[in-house]
């Protein structure tokens, strides 16, 4: 077990810039402890409001991914309260997106099946959308699946280590994509790279031993 604590480093600032953040919150966590058979992370207290881009930061093994899994319903809430609004949709990109040996779908087809808008996809993605997904590089595939989550109708988007597989140009592109989404759906971004989260997040939730 990682005995973890949480610190919402910019909560006061967020409250000042988003006065309605507590009303109509998409996620409300109160002293929540998450894990599987045993606790992994917590207790945590935080809120996520529409339009927030919350960076969940912590060292490897701190339980950041478990927090997202608890929000997605695949890890357990062991104590405390974790309330996720069920009025809208949740999109979730796991740390290791499903990548099959043969994927004979184009990026455009995947987006269509997921209800994500291909026409508003970032310019960087447009050139790859008509290629089969198994012909894309790891970074291209990563950005495509991120857009599949962001470009749909989800109100809450959970991204687990989205900068994995990305070279510096890819990280730049991801940062631009996330920056362009500020003020729209709520996004929780897990990363162990603090500089990346500094760039993309409007608030930061630190977890760690």
């Amino acid at each position: 077990m990682v005995q973890a604590t949480a610190r919402d480093t910019t909560q006061e600032q967020a409250a000042a810039t988003a006065p309605d953040a507590t009303a109509g919150a998409l996620v409300t966590a109160e002293e929540v402890v998450v894990g599987y058979a045993r606790p992994v992370l917590g207790p945590l207290t935080f809120r996520v409001a529409p339009g927030d881009v919350v960076g969940v930061w912590g060292p490897n093994g701190a339980g950041k991914s478990t927090l997202l899994k608890a929000l997605a319903g695949t890890a357990r809430v062991l104590s405390g309260r974790l309330n996720v609004s069920r009025e809208g949709r949740i999109a979730y990109q796991s740390q290791q997106p499903v990548r099959l040996p043969e994927m004979p779908l184009t990026g455009r087809e995947l987006l269509a099946y997921l209800g994500a808008d291909a026409s508003t996809a970032p310019q960087r993605l447009q050139g790859w959308l008509d290629q089969r997904m198994d012909r894309l590089s790891g970074g291209q595939f990563q950005l495509l699946t991120i857009w599949a989550c962001l470009g749909g109708s989800a109100d809450l988007v959970l991204l687990d280590e989205p900068s994995n597989n990305l070279d510096p140009e890819g990280v730049e592109a991801l940062a631009d994509i996330l920056a362009a989404r500020r003020g729209r759906e709520a996004v929780l971004v897990v990363s162990h790279e603090a500089p990346f989260l500094e760039r993309v997040a409007t608030r930061r939730l630190e977890v760690g031993p």
Binding site: G73, A91, V98, L105, Y113, L136, S137, G138
Partner: protein
């Protein structure tokens, strides 16, 4: 025999049309089975349906009903127990094979029916099989676009359904039941291996060459129907058992298509490394 005679002979029109329906629908199901990496389940369901057809005969139930019933029960068990993977499908194959041969040895007409199930008995397909496959196609083809959207989403974003508390069992069970029905009707019409070949081989080839999902469906459909037509002609002209000829033709055609994809510049399924 003139090749055209194979298609125009009134005696064989009914089997020809019945098999054609199976040859059109089974490859489409095969594409989704391949995407789900569950193609071996089709062989398991085919064996279970053959055993169910024979068991039904022993109880006075027509083979066309006994096969789908047994396969449907196996498919429902697969979905509702959330049991997945090659081990379970292999167990289904072994159970079906064992039960088929034991039932064949102990039921009237069982031996000849089991032989027909394994070899393929297309020439004896009649109105019952045709109506069964027509009903199956009438349900499957309109349902596929609805199912495809959900099954593809579940394949690439498996957590989505749980995160949004969706009743995912509905579409997973629906698809498994369609596969069970298709394999049972296909086995009753084309034989066990003929039905499996139509599920497995066209999808195997189309995944290698198609530039996108729509093309995957089109190529699989064309290979299934084209291979079936070739096999029907060859079996009629050579007076050969249909099932083995169908499997042989599909093997040659689809292997050639895959080999051709590998030889094309930029063909094959090479994956680039990390980086964007």
């Amino acid at each position: 025999m003139n090749p055209l005679d194979a298609f125009t002979d009134p005696l064989f029109r009914l089997p020809l049309g019945t098999g054609l329906l199976a040859a059109a629908v089974l490859p489409l199901l095969g594409t989704l089975l391949r995407l789900r990496e569950e193609w071996l389940a089709a062989l398991g369901l085919a064996h279970i349906s053959a055993a169910g057809a024979l068991a039904g005969m022993g109880l006075g139930v027509p083979a066309i009903a006994g096969g789908p019933l047994a396969a449907g029960v196996a498919a429902a068990f697969k979905t509702l127990s959330a049991v997945r993977g090659n081990t379970v499908y292999a167990l289904m194959i072994l159970l079906g094979w064992s039960a088929t041969l034991i039932l064949a040895a102990n039921t009237p007409l069982g031996k000849s029916l089991a032989h027909a199930m394994v070899d393929g008995q297309l020439y004896f397909a009649g109105w019952v099989e045709l109506i069964g496959l027509l009903a199956f196609a009438a349900v499957t083809l309109p349902a596929l676009p609805w199912l495809m959207r959900r099954l593809i989403r579940a394949r690439f974003f498996p957590e989505y359904e749980r995160a949004n508390r969706l009743p995912a069992w509905r579409w997973h069970l629906s698809f498994d039941l369609l596969v069970a029905g298709g394999m049972a009707l296909g086995t009753a019409t084309l034989g066990l291996m003929g039905a499996f070949a139509l599920v497995f081989l066209p999808a195997w080839a189309s995944f290698a060459v198609a530039p996108g999902w729509r093309a995957v469906l089109g190529v699989a459909l064309a290979l299934g129907v084209g291979g079936y037509g070739l096999a029907f002609t060859a079996a009629m002209m050579g007076d050969q058992p249909f099932g083995p000829v169908l499997v042989g033709v599909l093997l040659v055609v689809t292997a050639a298509v895959r080999a051709g994809a590998g030889l094309r510049p930029g063909g094959g399924l090479t994956r680039q490394g990390p980086g964007s």
